[in-house]
């Protein structure tokens, strides 16, 4: 991998994202041309007020939120796969989404406003994140030769299982009237999403913290001893990656619920296509994950229009067969 090749990959992905963005603004129950859609982003004299309204208040926030969530999830997945040195890791594996779901469900059952549900989800994600951080502090903070990844992974998986039980309990107690909204939230839904600025802020922060560490992550993949011998501050790097991946997942879950499979499949697909150099992979995962969720949401709101599917259904429907194919195909090269 060279910088030039990485830049070419990023450029190709960015072009695809741009095309998907225009398609997201253009397609829907009210037809318009791509030029009209782009033109109505900016209010101007002589514009069709209805088109402008649809694009600016309905389609644009969804496209932006979809991109930010997909990018956050794919980045978190790629980071956790390195941190846990496990190809099956994904953003929710350490329990972040479980905590968010548990808290959000309580808020939804209580009939809270959307902003309080979002705030609860984020609080739940933070609680779960700190819980794992505290329980696995020896594994995360100590740069010992002993391989820390399996125990950290187990700690997270057990916490996630605990949240799963809590969510099931809450579902069985929830009043019927609220169940539909809860199911949509749990599957991941961009319908009526709040303004995506929180997710975009989280994305900018995560990128700023994670991307400069990419060369160190390449080395960390080779084991703690090798990384230490090459001068990587392993313990500090691990905490940094854990925190930024968890915050990214928390921001995505808070914005759109638990959209599945993006964080697992996108980094893998890119790895299969272009190799496992984190310097290329992390930015590429952000672009591809963002584009992927934007595309999935476009499908989710158009295939059975005017009805809408939760976007998480789309990512799972596409993600499950793709992932099985990747898992079962012959070892590469």
């Amino acid at each position: 991998m060279s910088a030039a090749r990485a830049a070419a990959i990023w450029a190709a992905l960015a072009a695809a994202v741009a095309a998907l963005f225009v398609a997201s603004l253009t397609l829907g129950s009210v037809p318009m041309s791509p030029l009209d859609a782009l033109a109505s982003l900016v209010p101007h004299a002589g514009a069709d007020a209805l088109l402008g309204d649809i694009v600016r208040t309905l389609r644009l926030p969804r496209a932006l939120a979809g991109f930010a969530c997909g990018a956050l999830l794919a980045l978190a997945g790629a980071l956790l796969q390195v941190l846990l040195r496990n190809p099956l890791a994904e953003p929710y594996v350490l329990g972040v989404s479980g905590g968010a779901a548990g808290f959000a469900l309580v808020a939804m059952i209580a009939g809270s406003a959307w902003w309080f549900v979002d705030a609860s989800a984020f609080a739940g994600a933070l609680v779960s994140m700190l819980l794992v951080l505290g329980l696995a502090r020896r594994e995360l903070w100590r740069g010992e030769l002993r391989d820390a990844s399996p125990r950290l992974l187990l700690t997270g998986v057990v916490i996630a299982a605990g949240w799963g039980a809590l969510v099931t309990l809450l579902l069985s107690l929830a009043p019927d009237a609220r169940l539909r909204g809860i199911i949509f939230w749990l599957t991941g839904d961009l319908n009526g999403v709040a303004p995506p600025w929180f997710a975009w802020g989280a994305l900018a922060f995560a990128a700023l913290v994670a991307l400069p560490a990419a060369p160190q992550l390449n080395v960390l993949l080779r084991g703690d001893a090798t990384a230490l011998a090459l001068g990587v501050p392993v313990a500090r790097l691990r905490v940094r990656i854990y925190l930024v991946a968890s915050l990214a997942a928390a921001a995505a879950v808070t914005t759109a619920g638990t959209i599945g499979f993006v964080g697992l499949v996108v980094p893998h697909a890119l790895r299969l296509a272009f190799g496992n150099d984190q310097r290329m992979l992390l930015p590429a995962a952000m672009l591809a994950g963002g584009g992927g969720v934007m595309a999935a949401d476009l499908l989710a709101r158009t295939v059975i229009a005017p009805a809408q599917l939760p976007v998480g259904v789309m990512t799972a429907l596409v993600g499950v067969p793709v992932f099985l194919w990747m898992l079962l195909r012959k070892p590469m090269r």
Partner: protein, 266 residues
């Protein structure tokens, strides 16, 4: 006992190592000088890996300290230390696919510039390291598809590619066929002679050690250690004592070998 000197080199000062409550080594003061190839020998659990990791700065000793070029090891920044010593650990992690070339190229991490991408010189170093161990043909292979012995030689090439004047190799000859063991030791000897360099490797084959190492460090796992020129340390008496099995030295035609003094077969 003070090894404080302006000498360029690696030295342990009053070093103590422990595994749990068990003392592996105590009061160990020894300099490892350029041009020396040290074999670290001893029975299982004697502390060979612990010693190499401690000398590499990955693990804190139970007592004493390590001095590198006149400065305590702990005061070296990680990046600088990575250019001073390389460590080949015993355990390798390959969770993901990667080419042999990229795996070796990773060792150039301490030399990466601002944006973190390799320069042409780094690629040349990786190619040279692969060639040293006869791996040029494997450069494009996936490390997950390699045999144990091939993977081991790739790890050796990676350690060499780090371009540090001290090599700490933990069981570099494990999984290797005899001729590869000899090839690797020959390559390491040539590398040693090409500059002010030092090699420490742990090894279970005392005869290879006697043939290729200049010095030996014998740990007996009970806190005692002998260090010095290889012929003085890996003697039948000391090795028998350390390994807990009688060994005899057989000489024939200018070659010699340590053999177990097992009962004759009828």
């Amino acid at each position: 006992m003070s090894a404080r000197s302006a000498d360029a080199g690696y030295a342990s000062v009053d070093l103590a190592l422990a595994a749990g409550a068990r003392t592996l080594l105590s009061g160990f003061t020894q300099a490892f000088r350029p041009g020396e190839m040290w074999c670290v020998a001893g029975p299982n659990g004697a502390g060979k890996t612990t010693l190499l990791a401690t000398l590499a700065g990955l693990q804190a000793p139970a007592g004493g300290h390590v001095v590198v070029d006149g400065r305590p090891l702990g005061t070296w920044p990680g990046g600088q230390l990575a250019q001073r010593r390389a460590l080949m650990p015993q355990q390798l992690h390959d969770a993901f696919s990667a080419t042999v070339f990229d795996t070796v190229l990773l060792s150039r991490f301490p030399y990466l510039g601002g944006w973190g991408w390799e320069r042409p010189g780094d690629r040349d170093a990786a190619r040279a390291a692969l060639a040293t161990f006869g791996l040029s043909d494997l450069a494009g292979r996936d490390v997950l598809s390699l045999s144990g012995g091939e993977r081991q030689r790739v790890a050796l090439a990676a350690a060499l590619c780090q371009d540090a004047p001290l090599l700490l190799l933990d069981e570099p000859l494990a999984h290797l066929d005899l001729h590869y063991q000899i090839d690797c030791l020959t390559a390491l000897t040539a590398w040693l002679d090409a500059g002010a360099r030092t090699v420490l490797f742990s090894c279970h084959d005392l005869n290879l050690a006697r043939r290729f190492a200049t010095h030996a460090l014998l740990l007996d796992g009970r806190g005692r250690a002998w260090a010095g020129p290889v012929a003085d340390v890996l003697t039948p008496e000391r090795a028998s004592d350390a390994f807990g099995y009688p060994l005899v030295l057989i000489r024939e035609g200018g070659r010699d070998a340590l053999l177990p003094a097992w009962p004759e077969r009828r």
